[in-house]
């Protein structure tokens, strides 16, 4: 069973979407480690190490995602998780910005896939399967 760590990063307390992600991914047969809201980069990385996760799926709803996610790939490399797949999604930047620009910035930060506001987990699922194998 492949393990995915999910959670909401930074000072963000939006819990509902994260629960939906947990539900859907669990139903799809993944081992989901949900670290919940108000989680730091270190919380995600520590969980991924102990649980031997292949993917970290970061959610952010409150607009400060860009600051919260900065340097996450570097920390993963430092923690021995150089090859872990990083997803990020939600209202990850301040205001309404061009999705393509936002995606580019997060890809440069080392995320493998970036999803803008309102993307449902069902849309993302085929990509997860492709990246992880089902």
């Amino acid at each position: 069973m492949k393990t995915i760590v999910i959670g909401v990063i930074g000072a963000d307390v939006h819990a509902v979407g994260n629960r939906i992600i947990e539900y859907v991914l669990t139903n799809e047969g993944y081992n989901v480690v949900n670290i919940g809201v108000l989680s730091s980069q270190e919380d995600f990385i520590n969980a991924a190490i102990e649980a031997n996760a292949k993917m970290i799926l970061v959610s952010s709803l409150y607009g400060h995602g860009e600051i919260d996610c900065r340097g996450m790939r570097d920390k993963c490399v430092e923690a021995g998780l150089a090859n872990i797949i990083l997803y990020v999604g939600g209202n990850i930047v301040v205001g309404k910005q061009n999705v393509a620009d936002v995606e580019k910035r997060f890809l440069e930060m080392g995320f493998n896939r970036v999803f803008g506001p309102g993307t449902s987990i069902e849309t993302v699922l085929p990509l997860i399967k492709a990246d992880l194998g089902s």
Partner: protein
């Protein structure tokens, strides 16, 4: 009459408590030097004679003991990530009544293993990985211990998926290995009961024999616990109560010894307010932490080490040269204060032990601004509403003003983020009966509980 003799083989003293279980009274207590180096029964016989001098002749139906003689139970805790399985491993060791002399995370080095052997570790606890999680670290570490032919009992309590491979390594290198359930089966979930049971049974089967404590079982019935575990049992019973006999509710216990300061807290420590989110590893109801660098004699230098130059200066200005006093106490471990000045220095040291040790034990809160307003994280146990703080250990018991020491547990304005008790009742284990009551609680929980409620007095 049904009499119990409860014995505590301490590192310095052998303490005896005689209890008449039918009439629910403590018949007497006594102590003598522990003589584990020559023959443990010498000190025991001395203590017994002095006990019988006070009580008159007694016949005991049962004689049971706990022991922390000859260095107690020294363990090495090995895990993967510091905040997760390393912390879980430490908690398992503490809960079993051990001292954790060495802590390692990730892959063990040759130097680490050398240290384990040199420090004469009694038991190694090897953890790492959630069930189905990380495999590399535990397999690497077991292999490394095997290749080094470490002949110390090893308890494997890591990732369940590696259990078979670990068994193969244990067999291949003829290690004294034990395989038990994972202490952190899921992220942040703590399951340490199994580890505590096996650690205790190894202690009783192997360790006390090696330390020369086992011999005493020719004169008494048996040694059943490491001493700190007996204290933990007593504290848990006192907090929870038993059947119709009510307990005290959530409590904190501080035990200031010559070499270590132990802090126990009984309670869930769950957040009290709605806007607080709990983070980090689960907390056990009965939690024990041990500070090996904080003690009144052997570890006196550790008390002054964390103090800043300014605060040391402040003490000097007040007439206390703490560095000099600490050095003196470390060199004269059997020193007993006689003048008011010496007593006051001991009181200061006792207070510092409690303060620093409690900072490391208690939960902390941290605020964070969110778009929904101010929110709070809580790490560890919220102990603000505990009902009572109990003091034990020589310095508290013999001090004229034990409250001065115990008050250091309480909420203070210079540590606003620590969830310390607000207005606890201060209690004293005046007769030093906690470990004895822990032993008694195995057969006679109600009697042990009633005796504790009677003899642990308000100050």
């Amino acid at each position: 009459m049904k009499n119990y003799l409860l014995i505590d083989f301490g590192s310095t003293n052998t303490k005896l408590t005689a209890v008449d279980v039918e009439n629910k009274v403590i018949l007497g207590t006594s102590k003598a030097m522990t003589t584990v180096e020559e023959d443990i029964s010498i000190g025991y016989q001395q203590a017994l004679e002095s006990l019988l001098l006070k009580t008159g002749p007694l016949i005991f139906q049962k004689k049971i003991a706990c022991s922390s003689a000859a260095g107690g139970l020294k363990m090495a805790a090995i895990g993967l990530v510091e905040e997760l399985t390393v912390e879980a491993a430490k908690r398992a060791c503490y809960g079993a009544g051990a001292k954790v002399d060495l802590v390692f995370s990730h892959f063990l080095t040759h130097h680490d293993i050398k240290e384990i052997v040199q420090k004469k570790i009694d038991i190694i606890l090897l953890a790492g990985g959630t069930d189905g999680g990380n495999r590399e670290s535990v397999l690497f570490n077991a292999q490394a211990l095997g290749e080094a032919h470490v002949c110390i009992p090893i308890v494997y309590a890591g990732n369940k998926s590696c259990q078979d491979d670990i068994r193969v390594i244990f067999d291949q290198y003829h290690l004294q290995g034990y395989v038990i359930d994972n202490i952190m089966p899921k992220l942040n979930q703590l399951k340490i009961d199994g580890a505590q049971d096996i650690i205790r049974s190894i202690f009783l089967k192997n360790i006390i024999a090696a330390k020369g404590v086992k011999k005493i079982e020719s004169v008494i019935d048996e040694v059943i616990f490491p001493t700190p575990h007996a204290v933990l049992k007593a504290a848990e019973l006192l907090a929870k109560g038993y059947l119709h006999e009510k307990g005290l509710g959530d409590i904190v216990l501080v035990d200031i010894g010559g070499a270590t300061t132990d802090v126990y807290s009984m309670g869930t420590g769950a957040p009290i307010r709605g806007d607080v989110i709990l983070k980090g590893l689960d907390e056990p109801f009965a939690k024990r932490t041990v500070e090996g660098d904080l003690g009144m004699r052997y570890s006196a230098l550790g008390i002054v080490a964390p103090l800043s130059k300014e605060s040391l200066r402040q003490y000097t200005d007040d007439g206390f040269d703490l560095k000099k006093e600490a050095e003196f106490r470390r060199q004269h471990v059997d020193f007993i204060p006689t003048t008011p000045y010496e007593a006051q220095v001991d009181r200061l040291f006792g207070g510092l032990c409690v303060d620093i040790a409690f900072s490391r034990h208690v939960g902390k809160i941290d605020s964070v601004y969110t778009p929904l307003g101010m929110m709070y994280y809580q790490f560890g146990k919220d102990l603000t509403n505990v009902n009572a703080v109990i003091g034990t250990g020589g310095v508290v018991i013999h001090d004229e003003n034990p409250t001065d020491i115990l008050n250091k547990v309480c909420l203070s304005s210079d540590k606003p983020l620590e969830l310390r008790p607000k207005k606890p009742q201060m209690l004293l284990d005046k007769k030093y009966i906690l470990s004895a009551m822990g032993l008694l609680s195995i057969d006679e929980p109600i009697v042990a509980l009633q005796l504790m409620k009677e003899n642990i007095v308000k100050i």
